[in-house]
């Protein structure tokens, strides 16, 4: 050992209990890429292999891939973020991207370098295995599970155990299509009806003792055609959790459509068959699973409580003044936990993007402030630092401010979601990614994050009719397409209103097509109309909910009225009047649609 090595061994304060990684897979990937380049692997088999290992294709090129790093239940540790920072600097674009499904993505990676990333991930116990392709994708869990004041019990250990059970399991290697689990804490904070299997923790009294279990929803999902999931039964006891999951996957594997790529998610199977029939099949299959595998097959749920230990304060800065914006940030970016004195702090990132330097800072901030020693990624391209002691909040705010991570409005409408769009995706028609950033900047400039009437609303923008940004459940949702005036094209968005993902899950109702450069004015106009017509204590979300359900009695009673009120913003100017109208965000040349092959179904 040289001198420099001995001095530099950093102590790791908090370490993940689960190692998701496997070094052999990195070596195998490198060897397989070589064979593929030598023509010894056909396109289709290679693509399947690549996707199974978490490397997705990139817009208009075969030379680059996107590596999707899974964070089961959203858990991530400081040393893991440091590694991701290094990898993004070495092999990607110096930034990383937080997705809507608790993955971190590295884009524009040279295909031949993917194995080096897999190697780095394995070094810190992470994996990208089964992050793409027809497998069980990252198992999500609400970032508030364990701290939510409304939850019955913490779902996190069950989400982790489910992820462990299905990762590399032969059952989930070649399903008809991708398959998603979402666990959550309560109705308000989850997305359980918009996913293949959604689960909310529940308890019931059984002979005087409390029994743990779940409310399970099946067959939901967002996409070109979206469906709301159905509740399987009143209560599913925890012992039945795994049997139910296996039963559902077996049925999907057996009966799912493997031919028609556009219709092979499980929600189509449920819809075609009818819920009652599907439900009976699941219950029957579960009985078989239970009877045949009762002892051997068990979820390995780790019930050991997490160690909560407030980090020692390095310096006492209590005399220092609190930077400007603190109250606004506390109000719009933090939540009180059920554990008294502790708060969860949410960090919104512009459309999920973070620089490698910010990742390094974030890692040390988590170490310094989180009493649980890790962080949790969320559902809206964000990350939460939990178990922050209330006395530490001002100091934490200063630290975050110093590295550009203290945006207010993390938990409000001012934190829009935008998929990667034309920045990297083969399917995208518009630059939804940049549009989300523009909207956030405008909202913060107008201080709309502080408006209580807007705080429970959301904006989500997808760059094509597929729903990676989950636009269907947004209060105001958009998906991209092309508009046309004579021979000239312009970027355009289909807008939907009134979507939600809580206990009253609703898919947004289709409204106008809005030109990209009119999206911000339209959103502001909708807010203006709401303000003119709102009742006291009304929120934008409630107001739109009444309109789409025919229960509003003021000037805007229906989607038809809304369209008329917005008409004037949808009329294209001529190219001479406004040439910028014909360019997409981030582009100074004329807009045209161009797409490559999607790989979701490969």
């Amino acid at each position: 050992m040289t001198l420099s090595e001995s001095v530099n061994s950093n102590p790791i304060s908090s370490k993940s209990k689960i190692n998701w990684g496997k070094m052999e897979e990195a070596e195998d990937f490198a060897a397989t890429v070589k064979l593929y380049r030598q023509g010894k692997f056909d396109e289709d088999s290679f693509r399947r292999y690549r996707l199974q290992h978490g490397a997705y294709g990139t817009r208009m090129t075969n030379d680059y891939a996107m590596v999707r790093i899974k964070l089961p239940a959203g858990e991530v540790y400081p040393y893991q973020l440091e590694k991701i920072s290094q990898l993004s600097e070495q092999f990607s674009i110096g930034s990383a991207h937080f997705s809507t499904r608790e993955n971190i993505q590295l884009h524009w990676v040279v295909l031949e370098d993917v194995s080096e990333i897999l190697r780095g991930l394995a070094d810190v116990g992470l994996t990208s295995r089964e992050a793409c392709g027809n497998s069980v994708r990252n198992v999500m869990c609400s970032p508030l599970s364990g701290v939510c004041p409304d939850e019955e019990f913490d779902s996190t250990p069950y989400a982790l155990a489910t992820a462990r059970f299905f990762l590399r399991n032969p059952l989930s290697q070649s399903l008809p299509r991708k398959f998603k689990f979402n666990f959550t804490c309560c109705e308000k904070h989850g997305m359980v009806r918009m996913v293949d299997v959604g689960l909310i923790s529940q308890t019931r009294d059984l002979d005087g003792s409390t029994q743990k279990g779940f409310k399970i929803f099946l067959g939901g999902g967002l996409g070109n055609k979206s469906f709301v999931g159905h509740q399987l039964e009143e209560f599913t006891p925890e012992e039945d959790l795994l049997y139910t999951s296996i039963a559902v996957i077996r049925i999907f594997d057996r009966l799912g459509d493997r031919k028609n790529m556009a219709r092979n998610r499980m929600r189509y199977l449920v819809n075609d068959m009818g819920w009652e029939k599907f439900r009976n099949l699941v219950l029957k299959e579960r009985a078989i699973v239970r009877a045949t595998q009762s002892v051997v097959t068990r979820l390995d749920v780790d019930h050991a409580p997490n160690l909560i230990k407030r980090p020692i304060q390095i310096s006492d800065e209590s005399g220092g003044s609190i930077p400007e914006g603190y109250a606004r940030w506390i109000k719009t970016s933090t939540l009180k936990q059920k554990q008294s004195e502790y708060h969860s702090v949410f960090i919104t990132l512009e459309a999920g993007d973070i620089t490698s330097n910010q990742l390094i800072s974030l890692a040390s901030i988590i170490q310094e402030f989180s009493s649980e020693g890790n962080a949790r990624t969320g559902f809206i391209q964000n990350i939460a630092i939990r178990y922050v002691h209330e006395e530490d909040l001002p100091r934490l705010y200063s630290k975050l401010l110093g590295v550009g991570l203290a945006k207010s409005g993390s938990l409000t409408m001012a934190a829009p979601v935008g998929c990667s769009g034309t920045t990297s995706c083969n399917l995208a028609l518009t630059n939804s990614h940049r549009l989300a950033k523009e909207i956030q900047r405008k909202f913060l400039e107008l201080k709309l994050d502080q408006d209580d009437d807007l705080s429970d609303s959301s904006i989500k923008i997808s760059g094509c009719p597929n729903a990676c940004a989950q636009h269907g459940i947004a209060t105001i949702g958009f998906f991209g397409g092309g508009g046309r005036v004579g021979k000239e094209m312009y970027p355009n968005y289909q807008m939907s209103l009134g979507g939600r993902s809580d206990g009253e899950t609703t898919l947004g109702s289709t409204c106008h097509r809005i030109p990209a450069k009119r999206v911000i004015p339209v959103i502001l106009k909708i807010i203006e109309l709401f303000k003119e017509n709102k009742k006291s204590n009304d929120t934008l979300k409630d107001w739109l909910h009444r309109i789409i359900n025919g229960k509003e009695d003021t000037a805007i009673k229906s989607m038809h009225d809304m369209k008329i009120a917005l008409d004037f913003l949808t009329i294209p100017p001529t190219k001479e009047e406004d040439p910028d109208f014909y360019n997409d965000y981030g582009s100074d040349s004329s807009y045209h649609t161009k797409t490559g092959k999607g790989e979701c179904a490969a």
């Binding site: 674009i93 031949e112 194995s115 920045t423």
Partner: protein
């Protein structure tokens, strides 16, 4: 060539400290004069990169080299505080002049200091020496050379700038190996086995003549030049005037079309 093989590409900290004790090496600090004056590795001489680049004709370089006490036989170690890129450019210039005993310090001056190793602000008295000029033109690529050889099947052109810059614009046929890829957290170059695996994966092997380039003056690509040498590759040239000259001469460039990759950056 055989003599070169005995010279290490990078010198580790422990070896440098013992060579310093024996006073058997000339150490060059390539940082700015003001930084050098504050503190430097004991007995190091200052040769700021900017000074060298203001006129890097062999006639002038040899004068600079003479005044810092280097002749053909003096072992030299170069360091910087810029992940080895500036030091590499100076080391390469010495090699081009015909000097064959030059190594890079394996780490940066900041790292050296953070380890608690000795440094001071004393300016050493240097006895001038006489270096010869025997230009090693095999390691230089001019624009003309690049243009005539880059399409040959046995020539590999490597762009060492960051990924987004490469996507935006690069010399046709170049592959991208960002300079960050070459280092580890502590060292300016990856360990040999690690480097070899990385480069093998990218098809960067001894069967090619390799030309490296970067943005303007051959620093990042200078580091890459040494990275390639560190795994035993020998047929390497630095396109020292790099992309700046290529663009200035209005030579063709290519770009990754139809994607708004800049908007994915959080910068």
């Amino acid at each position: 060539m055989s003599q070169e093989k005995n010279v290490k590409i990078t010198m580790d900290i422990d070896s440098l400290r013992s060579e310093l004790r024996d006073n058997s090496v000339r150490v060059i600090d390539v940082r700015r004069e003001e930084d050098y004056k504050k503190s430097h590795i004991p007995n190091a001489v200052n040769l700021p990169l900017a000074n060298l680049l203001s006129d890097d004709s062999p006639e002038r370089v040899v004068k600079l080299v003479n005044t810092i006490g280097i002749d053909d036989e003096t072992p030299v170690v170069v360091y910087d505080d810029t992940f080895g890129a500036l030091a590499s450019r100076v080391a390469w210039t010495l090699e081009y002049l015909g000097h064959s005993k030059v190594s890079l310090l394996e780490t940066t001056f900041s790292k050296w200091k953070s380890l608690g190793l000795e440094h001071d602000d004393k300016i050493p008295q240097i006895q001038s020496k006489e270096h010869t000029i025997q230009l090693n033109s095999e390691i230089l690529s001019t624009t003309d050379y690049l243009e005539t050889s880059k399409n040959k099947p046995n020539v590999l052109l490597i762009d060492n700038r960051e990924r987004l810059n490469y996507l935006e614009q690069h010399i046709p046929g170049a592959i991208n190996l960002p300079y960050r890829t070459l280092a580890t957290q502590d060292k300016i170059l990856r360990p040999k086995e690690d480097m070899k695996r990385l480069l093998d994966n990218r098809g960067i092997t001894g069967e090619f003549e390799i030309i490296t380039y970067c943005g303007s003056v051959g620093t990042l690509s200078g580091l890459a030049y040494y990275a390639l040498k560190s795994i035993g590759l020998s047929n390497i040239k630095l396109y020292v005037r790099s992309f700046k000259e290529w663009k200035g001469l209005e030579k063709p460039t290519v770009k990754q079309e139809d994607a708004h990759y800049w908007d994915l950056s959080a910068e």
